[in-house]
Symmetry: C2
Subunit: 207 residues, 2 copies
């Protein structure tokens, strides 16, 4: 009987093992779809040990999210002094690099692992986007429709976020949100869309 049925590990070691397994499972499936039994089996431990180390399943999940959400931004000092537009360009490039390198885990934090829900949300979002495009006279550009949609959809995220700041968090006033959305949308229509596809600007010309 030289082989014990299980090994006794230092406190932090076991903890890290379990956390790693949980991280993997939670990133490939949704919270509800992953059971504590799954995590325990994956980690090769008894289910009760999860509760001993992390309290509740929810706590373990939050621990995972906390780590995943904190990662992405590290080196800041790489952007030098200089005129505003140069610094902005550098910052954006740096951000995209970080995003590309790190895979899409940050993007999907908190959402994205619920296909059924996402489908419905995406559908409603597309409807809104189509109406806005129609409103702006973009419905004629069928050639780049998909890509224009994607841009406007991104703008929709800005609108939702700003609306949240205004109505839920109450950190911005309506006037401020209005200014933000108007200027941003104007920029998108005037400077982004025409240059993004090498196509002509929408029918009514610019301001």
């Amino acid at each position: 009987m030289a082989e014990p049925r299980w090994r006794r590990l230092g406190a932090d070691q076991r903890r890290e093992e379990i956390l790693a397994c949980a991280q993997r499972l939670f990133t490939e499936r949704s919270y509800a779809e992953v059971s504590t039994t799954d995590i325990a089996r994956e980690a090769g431990v008894a289910r009760g040990l999860l509760n001993h180390y992390f309290g509740t399943k929810r706590d373990l999940y939050l621990e995972v999210v906390r780590e995943a959400a904190t990662v992405p931004l590290v080196a800041v000092e790489s952007i030098p002094e200089g005129p505003l537009d140069e610094r902005i360009a550098a910052a954006v490039v740096w951000f995209l690099d970080a995003l590309q390198e790190q895979g899409s885990s940050w993007i999907n934090v908190g959402v994205g692992r619920e296909p059924d829900l996402d489908r419905i949300l995406a559908r409603a979002e597309n409807d809104s986007v189509d109406r806005l495009m129609q409103l702006l006279g973009l419905d004629t550009e069928i050639e780049h429709r998909k890509q224009v949609r994607a841009v406007i959809r991104s703008f929709g995220q800005l609108a939702r976020g700003a609306g949240r700041e205004w109505l839920v968090r109450k950190a911005l006033t309506r006037a401020q949100v209005q200014l933000l959305l108007t200027e941003s949308l104007l920029t998108i229509m005037r400077d982004v869309l025409p240059n993004a596809f090498g196509t002509s600007p929408p029918r009514s010309g610019q301001a």
Copy 2:
């Protein structure tokens, strides 16, 4: 025994009753926190009836979300023809009106009813935002720090959405996302922030 123990209703009527109760409960608590027992009790019916009408709890939830997500955009024809900037301004105003009137249910669709998760996400988001602000030389403006943060946070939603379009949906190229984010951020720094608080633009002047 003139009073029957329960009434027999037309198919759609019961369905609507249950749906209404589910809608109320799901908007005030999160999906996991609301049990089918709660909904059934609220609607004054047996729990099994939910399954009979909607199949599974998830299906009922999706039904609720589908309705909540479809509501916000109705009247489109109110915006007339005209130069681009006028139409954009009108569209934004109309959007804000719809948002204000409809309460914050659309904003919170899909997320927002999970305080513990939101807190962690918001914390990580704020860290990222602070670094970006520092990068852009906005860290000196302590007077409007909260509001500047809120604006940048909204921009973060745009960045996340655009990143999603690029890496997950593959509807945009990296170059297109870069253009979108650069121009938008430039606009925010140059045209939005200075005018939103009646304060001076950041230290390095504009482009």
